[in-house]
Amino acid sequence: MSAALATRQTVAAILFVGVLAVVPIIADDYQIAVLAQVFLTAIVGIAWNLMMGYAGQLSLGHALYFGVGAYVLAILTERYGVSPWLAMIPAAVVPGVFGILIGALGFRFSVRGVYFALLTIAFAEMARIGFEHWDYVGKNGGFFLSALTSANNPMRSLRGGATFIYYALLICMVLTWSLSIVLVRSRLGYFWRAVREDEDAARAMGVKALRHKLLVVAISAAITGIAGAWFALINGSLFPDSVLGMRISIDLIVAPVVGGLGTLFGPIFGALLVVPVNEFTRSLSQSFSINGLNLLFYGVLLMVIVKIAPHGCWPAIAGWLRLSKHGRS
């Protein structure tokens, strides 16, 4: 990559984050909350993109990691009084372990492509049903974090108002983004892409495909788990339906696909597009009292984007902005 391109990219990235850092000064609480949602979606999108966009493994059960991370953090902080900072670790590790188990099962039995996707769906759905029947987490009735009092210290409880959440998630998103950049440019990035392109050819070149596939699943699952943990902290209540199962899995993948798989900024761009549109159509739906309008718009949007820009919207735009050499990497 030329030095000029690298400089342009760095400058653009700094500008981007800088602008986001000052937005809360001029935006209202609702807009801030929507952007926070964008950041959360972007974090999961980056995680999923590592697995699908770079390593080529299609997971449609990422909700499993999201939900498990959410419940782990919620249970530890609520029932055991663990500090949320500390609880983030198991919220990442436990989903990571699940990822390795599912991956090991799938890869060991050479379950690839569509079949692997179905496998992940099955596990995510079973988790949802399992949690729906589990008394300890309140089954379908929900699991609730205690209400915030005026004595709440956001830095300790990691819960707070819209602005606090905004900055917390912005920082997480930047960290996740940086991590993904480092990983993709490392040996891992090369091995993942090789496995994506042609696993057998990669193995013939000495790439330890199994190890690297498991690694990407573990990392992807762990990051998604942390995002789930934040979801719990933000919403204060968890229902199996809202964090587990295939419906949620589908929600999680729309943004990175729309933004652009196999690119570093694509998932963020996708989240920037998709989340506000979803919000907008949802409020349209409500104000006209027409149920389902948001689904309709969302569905049409997906089909249109996938038809005219199957590699996502970001690659073309990055090209115009002269921020990339050519489409995918």
Binding site: R185, S186, R187, Y190, F191, R193, A194, R196, E197, D198, D200, A201, A202, R203, A204, M205, G206, V207, K208, A209, G262, K325, H326, R328
Partner: protein
């Protein structure tokens, strides 16, 4: 069988190698040796079982019976990535470039096997590309390379893993003589650097020019084994193959 200082004289020994599919025996009790530092050719008509042998040797397919000895060590059943780490590299008859990646990225993947950092690996990869004449096209996406260049890339990918045994599957196929001559030169240089080469080939011109030893397969069985001149005049070989398919120049 060892040489003077206790090292095996043969880089590769294949013993009674057999592979059965339902209703078909693709490779039947094949035994041969590939001497260290040699260029050995494996020839035979289409369907003789040559690529199947390669697949078994390189770990992509499990033999139904038989053993494969590499450097004195029984490697039967090891996985492709393990064998590559031990110094065995192969190219594929149907080329398998990593199409979404650039040429240099393709080769870097292999170079990372023996280079600890990405920077060093890319440097080594560039050297390999230069060696096969693809230096100017390093940043091109592999999918956009011409056929001869893709062949070179396939060779470069194998070379990047710093192999001691290089297995080439019909690397000359569909090339114009000027391009295949280029590859022949590169292969000679590689051999002079101490790499043993085992190649499957149809283009007889190349086999006669390069190979010191020729093994002939027909219907999955070995029918001849020896120096090119001897093999070429072997009756059975002529009947089975050379009489119909010789691509003399």
């Amino acid at each position: 069988m060892t040489g003077p200082i206790g090292e095996p004289a043969n880089v590769l020994e294949v013993r009674s190698l057999t592979r059965r599919f339902t209703g078909l025996v693709a490779v039947n009790n094949v035994t041969f040796e590939v001497p260290k530092g040699s260029i050995t050719a494996l020839i035979g008509p289409n369907g003789a079982g040559k690529t199947t042998c390669f697949s078994m040797i390189s770990g992509a397919m499990r033999p139904s019976a038989g053993e494969i000895i590499y450097d004195g060590r029984n490697i039967t059943g090891l996985k492709p990535e393990e064998l590559c780490a031990l110094g065995m590299a192969r190219t594929f008859q149907i080329m398998r470039p990593l199409s979404g990646m650039t040429a240099i990225d393709n080769v870097t993947v292999g170079a990372l096997l023996h280079n600890p950092s990405v920077r060093l690996a890319r440097g080594a990869a560039f050297d390999v590309l230069a060696r096969v004449g693809l230096a100017e096209k390093a940043e091109m996406p592999a999918a956009m390379l011409t056929l001869p260049d893709r062949k070179m890339l396939e060779l470069a990918k194998a070379l990047s893993t710093a192999p001691r045994l290089l297995m080439l599957d019909e690397v000359m196929a569909a090339l114009r003589p000027v391009d295949s001559d280029r590859i022949v030169e590169v292969l000679r240089q590689i051999r002079n650097d101490g790499v043993t080469i085992l190649l499957i080939e149809h283009v007889m011109r190349v086999v006669m020019a390069l190979a010191e030893k020729v093994i002939v397969l027909h219907h999955g069985e070995k029918i001849a084994d020896g120096e090119p001149a001897a093999v070429v005049s072997d009756r059975r070989v002529i009947e089975s193959y050379l009489g119909r398919k010789a691509k003399a120049v």
